[in-house]
Symmetry: C2
C-alpha cells in the first residue's frame, strides 16, 4: 500500500486520519472495472465513483486525475516486490525473479495482458506502465550492480540487457503461459542459473 | 499461407482450383473481428461469414469449426518463420530470434496480447495457442539440438529452458515493449550472445 499512501496523501496530520475505506473502495472499483474489460481511454472518474459508491469530489481530493489513480491502482495490484537478502547475487536474483508474475489477485492477469495494446498506443500511457514496471526493475538492477562490484558478475555486464534476460523468461511463462513443458516450481532458479552460466560450454 | 493450405484443403485436384479469394476474405474477416475486440468465446461463424460476405456453408466447407479456422487465421497472421542457414548456431539463433514479434501486420499486437487471458481460460483454447506457438518453437529447438551435437552448446543443455531464455527477452521487448532503454536494432544479437556466454565471469 505504500505506493498509494505516498502518492495520494503526502502531508498527513496524525489527528486527521485519511479515509482509507474510501481509498480502498476507489482503488477496488478501478481494478474491477479494468478486469471487466473497461478500456483506459473510456474509463471515467464518474464510472469509478459510481462503482465505488463515492462522489467524484472524493476521488479528486485524493488523486489529481485518472492517470494518477490508475498508477496507484496498478501499483497496488502488483504488490510490493520482495527485499533482497544481500548474501549472494544468485540467491537474491532467485528471490526477486520468483516473485515475477506471482500475483495472487485474480484480476492481475486480465488487467495486465489486455492493458498493453492500449498502453502502447500513447506516450502518457506508456509512462504510466513504466511507472509501474520500473520500481521492480530497479530492485533487480541494484542486485546486478552489486554483483558487478563484488565480482560475482562479469565486469563488462550490460545491466539493462541482463535485466531482460532474467525477466523475459519469467514473464512469458507466468503471464503468457508460453510453454506447458516448463516446470514452474523451480523456474526462477533454473532461469537464474541458466543466465549466470550461459548455454555455451565453459 | 502453407499452414492454411495444408489444413483446409488437403486433397486438391489441379483442375479444380480452390476459391482462394473466399478463403482470404474469411481469414481476413476473422482477424479483423479479433483485432476490433471480438472475444473468442462469442465470435460466431455467422459473424465471420457476414463480415466476409460469404455464406456460413462456404466456411464449413473449408473448416470443420471455429477452432480450426482460428488456428489457421492465427498461423497466417504470424507468418512463416525464417529458415536456418546451417553455418553456425549463433547465426541461426540470431536469425530466428530476430523474427520474434516482428510482425508487419498491425492487427497482430492487438490480437496476440489480448488473446491470452481468453486463451488461458480453457484447455481447448490453450491448445489452439500452442498450435500457433509450437511450430516456431520447434524451429529454434532444432538449432539448439544441432548445437549440442556439434559442441557449440553445452552437452548438458536443457533445451526447453534454453528456448525460454532466448525467446523471453525478445517477446517482452517486442510484444510488451517492456523496456524503453533497450535498443531494438541489435537486440536479437545481444540476447543470443548474452545467453550463450552467461553473465558470470568465465
Amino acid at each position: 500500500m505504500s505506493d498509494m499512501t505516498s502518492h495520494a496523501d503526502a502531508p498527513r496530520s496524525p489527528g486527521r486520519p485519511r479515509s482509507s475505506r474510501a481509498d480502498e473502495a476507489i482503488i477496488d472499483a478501478t481494478l474491477n472495472l479494468l478486469a471487466e474489460g473497461a478500456k483506459i481511454d473510456t474509463l471515467s472518474i464518474e464510472a469509478i465513483a459510481s462503482r465505488a459508491g463515492v462522489g467524484k469530489a472524493t476521488i479528486y481530493r485524493r488523486w489529481p486525475g485518472k492517470e494518477a489513480l490508475l498508477r496507484d491502482a496498478l501499483a497496488i495490484l502488483k504488490g510490493t516486490p520482495p527485499t533482497p537478502i544481500g548474501r549472494s547475487v544468485r540467491e537474491d536474483l532467485v528471490l526477486l525473479l520468483g516473485a515475477v508474475g506471482r500475483n495472487t489477485d485474480p484480476r492481475s492477469e486480465k488487467i495486465m495482458s489486455c492493458l498493453l495494446p492500449e498502453v502502447n498506443r500513447n506516450q502518457d500511457r506508456y509512462e504510466l506502465y513504466q511507472g509501474v514496471v520500473e520500481p521492480r526493475r530497479a530492485r533487480v538492477r541494484e542486485v546486478l550492480e552489486r554483483g558487478v562490484r563484488t565480482g560475482e558478475l562479469r565486469a563488462d555486464l550490460d545491466i539493462e540487457l541482463a535485466l531482460a534476460l532474467l525477466t523475459g523468461p519469467m514473464l512469458i511463462q507466468r503471464v503468457l503461459r508460453w510453454h506447458p513443458e516448463l516446470d514452474d516450481d523451480v523456474l526462477a532458479e533454473r532461469v537464474v542459473d541458466g543466465v549466470l552460466e550461459g548455454i555455451q560450454p565453459r
